[in-house]
Symmetry: C2
Subunit: 111 residues, 2 copies
C-alpha cells in the first residue's frame, strides 16, 4: 500500500517564496498540508474562490482568515469552514504557519 | 457567520480519559480535531471500520497508524489515507498527540 505521505518522502510542491505544499487524497477527499515560512505578512494575500467545500485547520502558527470582508484570528487547533463559491484568503501573523486544507470534491487544479 | 470553531469556545466532547474531540463540517466534508493526553500507549487501540473515506494528518506528537496488519509511524505533518471499509487504528507513541481526521460523507455517528 502507498496510502501515507511522510513529510520526508512526499513530493513537495513549491508554491512561492517560503511556501510549499504536499497533498494526499482518496476518491473524493483531498488534504493539503501547506507550510509557510514567509510570515508575518503586512497585508492579506489576494482572496480566491472555488466551488469545492473546504474545511481548514491551523496546525502551527497563527493567521487571519478572511471570508469575504469578515476575518477571524486562528491559532493552532482552530478550524474554519468555507462554503462553496465564497471568496476567502489568509494573512500570516507569525513567521511560520502550517495549514491543513481539506476539500471535497477533489481540486483537480492541484493535481 | 458562524463558520469557525475556536478551540477555546468550540464545544469539546470528551471521548475517554485524556481524550477529547471538536468537529466542524460543511454539507459533505467533516473535520475532527482529536487531542490525546494519555500517551504513550503500550499497545494499539482496537481497530474500527466505517464506509467513509478518511484522510488524517498528525498535527502534534507521533502515532503508529495501522491499516489492517500494516503500520507506519507518523509524526507532525505526515498524512495517511484510509479507504472505505478498511479496518484501522492508532497507537500513541508520545504523551500528547493531536490528530486531524477528515471524512466524506459526514459521519452521522459523530454528530
Amino acid at each position: 500500500m502507498n496510502l501515507s505521505k511522510n513529510k520526508d518522502t512526499a513530493s513537495e510542491v513549491k508554491i512561492g517564496s517560503g511556501r510549499k505544499r504536499r497533498l494526499l487524497h482518496t476518491e473524493s477527499l483531498m488534504m493539503v498540508v501547506i507550510d509557510f515560512e514567509d510570515g508575518p505578512a503586512a497585508k492579506p494575500d489576494a482572496q480566491h474562490v472555488h466551488p469545492h467545500e473546504q474545511v481548514t485547520c491551523v496546525a502551527e502558527g497563527e493567521v487571519l482568515f478572511f471570508i469575504g470582508k469578515e476575518s477571524r484570528r486562528l491559532s493552532a487547533g482552530d478550524m474554519v469552514a468555507v462554503p462553496p463559491d465564497q471568496p476567502h484568503g489568509i494573512q500570516l501573523m507569525t513567521p511560520r504557519v502550517r495549514l491543513i486544507d481539506t476539500f471535497t470534491p477533489l481540486r483537480q487544479d492541484l493535481l
